[in-house]
């Protein structure tokens, strides 16, 4: 892979860092705050997308500066997988910023909110572009630090409890990653993520098992891999844009990204196949998919249901990666995008419903479809994606995951896909039915439901994301779509020179 030194990765991280600083300093002016927030997201978007043509052509962009520790450089390396993650995050960041500007209007401590919001995008892109595990870890921990003020935004007791739980889990996860990194560095002398595996069997089974457990568990906290998931439902008390972005896109995806890096770049496919650890991971992921879906069924709050659905969907990615076949790997990577767009649509809808009608519970949804038709249509699109209906994004994932499972000789996971699809249907369809086909419950006060007034700045992002869900589903194989980027990443990981079968 030809490696080019390019300053764009550094700029991508720095740009939003500086814009975040600007947001902090323009204190009271809402207009400037909006400007700098959008500038942060926009510049990031432009820089990241500008690297796409190069990455599709097989180029890898690197930029290094100095050593943080003896023998471990601090630097960026943009390969296909990293660019994919960065693309998804930077695209979604723009729409989320627009949405957040509308949703948070009138709230308190806005400079702090938007400042840290912009800092989070910096750290997420830093994770995506990290050249080695240490750089990734730096930005990973900084992401935890920068998301904390966002979760604590409401500053009430529920926020503090959620924040404390969040920190306990994510920082402990960070500690596990750190321990894994130390053992990794001790046994191999490197932390590079540029290879298809830096570990070898010769190191010894006990060390290899320790590294695997530490890294997977450490990253698994943010990836909400049960039983390390408990922070995610608790963090739903945060404002909706925070839930949408962080828990659909940035924080949780950073966790699965870390797991992907561990599987593909630290261990490598061949070593893991020999060791057999990934099989256990697949079993765990499969179990999580089902259990989390069942839990989602039991939730009465909209956001809680979305949270459990997220936990289930994240394990799709983990399962796909753990199957260790090219087609499954493809499913893992594209599900980063598919799940992100679909879930963020749903979170945006939940927030819009809350702002427009004040409703937060599933059983209150009667008639909302008539009050907010476009919004609920988008919700329907997203839920069809999760159910795996063809032409929507989620179907692509399930298709490739099933093929990959068959390729690995583990047909049982196809069954897991089917069960999961049915479960998804069982908790999304009632919501849609209630919204569209039931008259709103009147509590005696207003007899006629008026259309809820929600700012267009909130509705447009919803529609954009929903449209993208359809686009990802129907037009997946078109060139220049992220799909080809995912293919490039898989080709690298599996060292294939030919198109996937």
């Amino acid at each position: 892979m030809p490696e080019l030194v390019d300053i764009r990765p550094l700029l991508a991280v720095l740009a939003s860092l500086l814009c975040a600083g600007a947001v902090f300093t323009v204190r009271q002016s809402a207009r400037w705050r909006a400007f700098w927030s959008l500038a942060a997201a926009g510049i990031k978007f432009a820089l990241v997308w500008s690297m796409l043509p190069g990455a599709l052509a097989g180029r890898v962009y690197v930029y290094q500066f100095g050593e943080l520790l003896p023998g471990v450089a601090f630097g960026f390396r943009v390969d296909a997988l990293g660019l994919f993650f960065a693309l998804v995050s930077s695209t979604l960041w723009i729409v989320t910023t627009v949405y957040a500007l509308a949703y948070m209007r009138g709230s308190h401590s806005l400079p702090r909110f938007f400042g840290f919001f912009a800092l989070c995008i910096s750290t997420t892109v830093g994770i995506a572009f990290a050249e080695n595990l240490l750089t990734l870890f730096v930005f990973y921990e900084l992401l935890t630090v920068c998301t904390y003020p966002l979760i604590m935004h409401n500053e009430d007791l529920a926020a503090r409890r959620a924040g404390r739980k969040y920190l306990i889990y994510t920082l402990s996860g960070g500690g596990l990653i750190l321990a894994g990194m130390i053992v990794l560095y001790f046994t191999t002398g490197t932390l590079s993520l540029a290879e298809t595996g830096i570990l070898e069997e010769a190191i010894g089974r006990s060390w290899l098992l320790a590294i695997f457990l530490l890294l997977i568990a450490g990253f698994g906290v943010k990836a909400a891999l049960m039983p390390l998931h408990a922070w995610l439902p608790a963090a739903m008390v945060a404002p909706t844009p925070v839930s949408a972005l962080l828990h659909a896109v940035a924080v949780v995806k950073a966790g699965v990204f870390g797991i992907l890096r561990t599987i593909y770049n630290v261990f490598g496919i061949d070593l893991l196949r020999d060791l057999g650890y990934a099989d256990w991971l697949a079993v765990l992921a499969g179990t999580v998919i089902v259990i989390a879906s069942v839990n989602a069924l039991r939730q009465k709050h909209i956001k809680a249901r979305l949270a459990w659905s997220t936990i289930s969907q994240l394990s799709y990615i983990v399962l796909a990666a753990a199957l260790l076949t090219p087609l499954a790997a493809l499913a893992a990577i594209i599900h980063i995008a598919n799940q992100a767009f679909s879930k963020i649509t749903m979170f945006f809808v939940a927030g819009a419903i809350e702002r427009g009608t004040g409703k937060k519970r599933v059983d209150e949804l009667a008639g909302v479809g008539r009050q907010m038709p476009w919004t609920m249509a988008a919700f329907t699109v997203a839920s069809l994606s999760f159910m795996g209906v063809p032409l929507f994004a989620g179907f692509v994932t399930k298709w490739y995951l099933s093929l990959g499972a068959l390729q690995a000789g583990e047909g049982i996971y196809v069954g897991v896909m089917v069960i999961s699809g049915l479960l998804n249907a069982s908790y999304w369809l009632p919501m849609i039915y209630l919204a569209f086909f039931r008259p709103p419950q009147t509590h005696g006060q207003d007899a006629s439901p008026k259309p809820a007034r929600v700012s267009p700045m909130m509705v447009v992002p919803i529609l954009i994301c929903a449209a993208y869900v359809i686009l990802l589903g129907a037009g997946a194989s078109a060139p220049a779509m992220p799909f080809s980027l995912a293919e490039a990443a898989v080709r690298f990981a599996f060292e294939l020179k030919v198109p996937l079968e």
């Binding site: 870890f137 920190l167 750190l178």
Partner: protein, 494 residues
């Protein structure tokens, strides 16, 4: 320049002289002694820079006081450990700048010039301790900085300060006497007081007096360094002292104990001495206990200065784990952590002092809501707390990583778990403080109406906070810098 060695004694003489002159020149004046003291510290720092540059250029050098050669006279040596004089002088200078407004409220106005005198004398003693190559000289400088430290703790007006100072004095004097006793034993055994000479003469000896001397020196310096379980003088002393004094104590005076132990290891090094290995293991395990104990105790404190004092004990524990592991990475990491911790802990104590000065309250719950009212100070404290807990790329990370790596190199996985666990506990109390500052409404009237501290108080805090990021980024170079010293003290690394 070939005269640089002649500047070596200045490191100690300048502050000592400056300190002694202060009450003579500025009796009863409250502000001028501050400028004078800052100037003296600045000049000392400049001398330290020159010497450091010479060190980097051409390696260790020594200076024979009065021209008497080492066998007969006192030798001063400037090696990597001596380079600690630079951060020491700079930290003292920043603490002095901070003191300008702070002491007005905490110290009797008549005694302010004595305060500055004592701080300068303390610096002089510290610098002398770092650069001396003679055992008795070591003792004398140790007493200089210790006695001035006892007196400084007592300068705070609260009655508890006198008791804390007396406790510190009694235990400190006990440890000093242990050191003196051991110096006497070494002199009896070898006939020389020069550290390098004595090391050669003591090489491989495992007689009872040698063991006695080693035990005495190790225990004496361990008390000064607040190693578990002889750490119990530290919380009261550091919490009761005026904030800039707490900063100097936690950052520098305690590290002098560590330096003393390093010199002891150098004295008895050569790897053959029977007693050395048990000592190293003891340091490792006591360090681990101190780390966990200190961190947990810090977590349950309500008074902010007590919390910081227990955090010092935890960090000293890290350093001892590193020293006890005796591999190049571990010891290098411990030394780098000593410097980094000095910078971070000073920032924290100064920030805490600023908050106490402005609100009159010391309880963490009472300090809620200061994030908005004292933005610079609160930011400095929050930033440094994140650094202290070891979030990369800040200063707290490098030392811990290296020590953990050294643990694996030495075949001891347990310290890695201790370090990771303790790091999480440190994060916990750091987050508690950050929560109180930023995410809680004020709980007391005095916090609602408080304003930002004067510039001379928040500026040093911010400078030190930024330094804790800069030092973190420079971790690699710092490790390279101390490597020769590790070689020299521990012999060939395993």
């Amino acid at each position: 320049m070939s005269e640089w060695p002649h500047w070596l004694p200045l490191l100690a003489v300048l502050p000592l002289l400056g300190g002694v002159l202060t009450p003579l020149l500025f009796r009863r004046r409250p502000v001028i002694p501050c400028f004078w003291a800052v100037a003296v510290a600045l000049v000392t720092a400049a001398v330290a820079v020159m010497l450091l540059l010479r060190l980097i250029d051409s390696g260790d050098f020594s200076y024979a006081v009065g021209g008497w050669l080492p066998q007969y006279g006192i030798e001063l040596r400037f090696d990597q450990i001596g380079a600690f004089a630079l951060p020491a002088s700079l930290l003292v200078m920043l603490a002095l700048v901070f003191s300008r407004h702070y002491v007005a409220r905490t110290v009797d106005p008549e005694k302010i010039s004595y305060y500055y005198a004592l701080v300068l004398i303390n610096l002089g003693g510290l610098n002398g301790f770092l650069v001396t190559g003679d055992l008795f000289n070591l003792f004398v400088f140790m007493e200089i900085f210790s006695v001035s430290a006892y007196a400084l703790v007592a300068m705070a007006r609260q009655p508890i300060a006198a008791l804390a100072a007396l406790k510190y004095l009694l235990l400190g004097a006990l440890s000093s006497l242990l050191v003196l006793f051991s110096v006497g034993v070494v002199f009896a055994m070898t006939g020389t007081l020069n550290i390098e000479d004595a090391a050669v003469l003591l090489e491989g000896s495992s007689s009872m007096p040698a063991g006695l001397a080693l035990a005495g020196l190790a225990t004496g310096f361990a008390v000064k360094a607040a190693l578990f379980p002889v750490h119990f003088w530290l919380p009261d002393a550091h919490a009761a002292a005026p904030a800039p004094v707490s900063a100097i104590l936690s950052a520098l005076v305690v590290k002098a104990g560590v330096v003393g132990l390093l010199r002891t290891l150098e004295l008895f090094g050569g790897g053959e001495s029977l007693y050395l290995q048990p000592l190293l293991s003891l340091m490792l395990w006591l360090g681990a206990l101190g780390t966990l104990g200190g961190a947990l105790m810090a977590l349950v404190q309500r008074d902010i200065k007590l919390m910081l004092a227990y955090s010092t004990i935890a960090n000293i524990g890290y350093i001892f784990i590193g020293l006890g592991l005796a591999t190049t990475s571990a010891v290098g990491g411990a030394m780098v952590h000593a410097v980094n911790h000095a910078v971070m802990k000073s920032a924290l104590f100064l920030a805490a002092g600023a908050m106490i000065h402005q609100t009159g309250l010391r309880n963490i719950d009472d300090l809620r809501g200061l994030g908005r009212r004292m933005p610079a100070t609160a930011f400095g404290m929050a930033f440094t707390l994140v650094a202290l807990s070891g979030v990369p790329p800040m200063a707290g990370f490098v030392g811990k990583w290296q020590i953990a790596l050294g643990a694996l190199e030495a075949g001891q996985p347990l310290p890695v778990a201790v370090l990771v666990l303790a790091g999480l506990v440190v994060l916990a109390f750091g987050v508690r403080m950050i929560n109180a500052l930023y995410f809680r409404p004020p709980a007391r009237v005095s916090t609602v109406s408080s304003v930002e501290a004067p510039v001379s108080m928040w500026l040093p805090v911010l400078i030190l906070a930024v330094a804790s990021l800069a030092l973190g980024l420079a971790g690699s170079s710092m490790l390279e810098f101390v490597a020769p010293a590790v070689q020299a003290i521990y012999g060939t690394p395993p």
